[in-house]
Point group: C2
Chain length 381, copies 2
């Protein structure tokens, strides 16, 4: 039996613990500084728990020492330092922290230590990258890739029709940070929330897609001349958010308000974020659509993946947590069982995806866990 340690026991970390415990073969240890989170995973999954402050890389080095594989579900600000600590400890690592830095800079360290690390290994980034990486080699040439992704509450409450499954400050950041994309082979930057379009999704209905800065590693790892990433929300959300942004409600710089200095973003957060908080047991859903256009044998081909998942009432696990945790857990298993198709290094999910059967296995494993994905091939004969 192998031994896995999960860093962070929040919503995603605890879903990783659940998954590795459920599908066997692992002795699972959960680490967090928050005792309540730990007792929850201990009770639910029978996992071993360790209370520790993972903001300290020295602590990370210690808690990973006796394990065969490490999974990371920590805040993005801790992503890079934790990756380094795990690699220095010589342990394979799968991470979903969405760190700001480019993790691939540590690939030399991973090679030195002879270990494999995969970052951004959730759904988007994550499974979406695998689909993109697969399409980029399957099509010749692959001309265009568009990734649509979004996590939404099932119950649509006016005016935002939105709840935040992860820290809402990060969501506001996605609404403010300029979106990088690729057009005609060049990096292009557009305003976040720009180029809204309505897209229909089975069982969900019409959603609105708009530019966000979500391509991350794909911007440099694939040489596809057109690549876009768009976030999905219920129609109207983006318009309202743009109005708030335009009014200055997301500005971080403090302004004088009747004699006191306040950041408008902090005020907005104080008013808005309580309204964006999921109720206990409130269902959410995830939609991911990846569309790749190109040619095969000189004929136009479109590959289209449609992944859809919903809240799991049986385990009280939100779809956003399921779809972030399961790909990481599946990847960890692949690495531990020696089936990862590449040698030591730090990888994005698109890197192994072109290898035969790799994406299929990921999608099969997700299907076993109730995360459904349909791939459609549109071909001109």
């Amino acid at each position: 039996m192998k031994s896995a340690v999960i860093l962070g026991s929040g919503r995603v970390g605890s879903a990783m613990v659940m998954d590795l415990s459920t599908y066997g073969g692992f002795e699972v240890t959960a680490v967090d500084w928050h005792a309540a989170a730990l007792s929850r995973v201990a009770e639910r999954c029978g996992a071993r728990t360790v209370e520790a402050d993972l903001a300290d890389p020295g602590v990370v080095a210690k808690v990973v020492a006796d394990h065969d594989v490490v999974l990371g579900a920590l805040p993005s600000a801790l992503g890079m330092q934790t990756l380094r600590a795990v690699l220095e400890a010589g342990k394979p690592y799968v991470d979903i922290s969405r760190m700001e830095e480019d993790a691939r800079e540590l690939t030399g360290l991973a090679e030195d230590k002879g270990v494999i690390a995969v970052v951004d290994c959730g759904v988007a980034p994550g499974v979406a990258n695998m689909m993109a990486g697969y399409a980029a080699t399957q099509l010749d040439p692959c001309e265009r890739i568009i990734i649509y992704g979004g996590g939404l509450p099932v119950e649509r409450l006016w005016p935002y029709e939105f709840k935040a499954a992860f820290t809402p400050y990060d969501i506001i950041d996605e609404y403010v940070r300029p979106a990088r994309m690729v057009e005609y082979g060049e990096l292009v930057v557009r305003e976040a929330l720009s180029e809204p379009e309505l897209v229909d999704f089975p069982a969900v209905g019409t959603l609105e897609a708009f530019n966000t800065d979500g391509l991350r590693t794909l911007l440099t790892s694939l040489s596809v001349p057109f690549m876009h990433e768009k976030t999905l929300r219920y129609p109207g959300h983006a318009q309202l958010i743009r109005a708030l942004r335009e009014t200055g409600m997301f500005s971080k710089a403090k302004i004088d308000v009747e004699g006191v200095e306040v950041s408008p973003l902090d005020m907005t957060a104080a008013l808005l974020f309580p309204k964006w908080t999921y109720e206990e047991g409130e269902p959410d859903l995830i939609v991911l659509r990846v569309v790749a256009h190109g040619q095969r044998g000189g004929k136009p081909v479109t590959l289209r993946w449609h992944l859809h998942d919903v809240y799991d009432a049986a385990t009280d696990t939100r779809s956003m947590s399921r779809t972030a945790a399961f790909p990481a857990a599946i990847m960890a298993r692949t690495i531990v069982e020696g089936r990862f198709p590449l040698g030591p290094g730090v990888y994005a999910p698109e890197d192994p995806a072109p290898q035969p059967g790799f994406l299929d296995e990921m999608l099969d494993e997700l299907e076993r866990r109730g995360v459904h994905c349909v791939c459609t091939v549109l071909e001109t004969k």
Copy 2:
């Protein structure tokens, strides 16, 4: 030659000065605490000016002492105390301050002093009340009166498509204060911004009308079983304002924001109000529509007034100022010339409106000043 004194030389007060100076018969004195405002009216209209603090009723009593008629264009908070001071000084008074209090409580004082005062004497409240008062007696019975009114910028800038021609705090107050209306003869209260409807206006296009608390004196002075007042904005404004209101952005109560106590409304004001400020020389427009349904000789009749005005480039006077100032100036002239049809007292504009020719004269005088109004009578023969 008669002598008129205008209290307040802001946008409306200075338009009153301009009007009384232009149409002859008056020696005009402008009073304000703000020297720059006074020198502007002196230069433009050749009016005499007095610098004085009109927040002090004793000062008001002094400055009105030597004049035949007084016009008030002061902030609403000063409305009632100024009315009292003017009445105690025994001077006729026309006011557009939109005071919160019911001015008619001072009618006894006006009777004692033998003077006439008319309050709410702008466009809406003001001319709209005259139309309502006229309809209430012309139709038998008058079954329903709806007042639509709004002041808007000509240039529609996303996202608000709105600028504030008077203090924006008062506009937010209109968006927050519950709207009182009359249905089946009973007072009914609904949320401000409720019951939005799209209405088409010639030369302006489609506007959105929603409930606001604008019936004021009409709620008690007319016994019409259905009375509604709705504010007009470009479509979409109300939805956005509702979202801000729902998010708590208009809340006055201070909340803790990262350790400091701030009123969300003050923060919103700091961000929003600069965007709601008219540029120098920026054109605005006014739309007023009053619709009255009822019967005449047992046949259904609808009376409909449509008043439309725009910014006057020649005098750099906004429509909002013109349409507030001109009715007051016309009314002052009527009083001074002894043509006001009722005896001493404090009146709302609907009170004299049923008298023969009274409304026609007001509309004719407005027409002379370029404020156009069309009255349509729809009759079943």
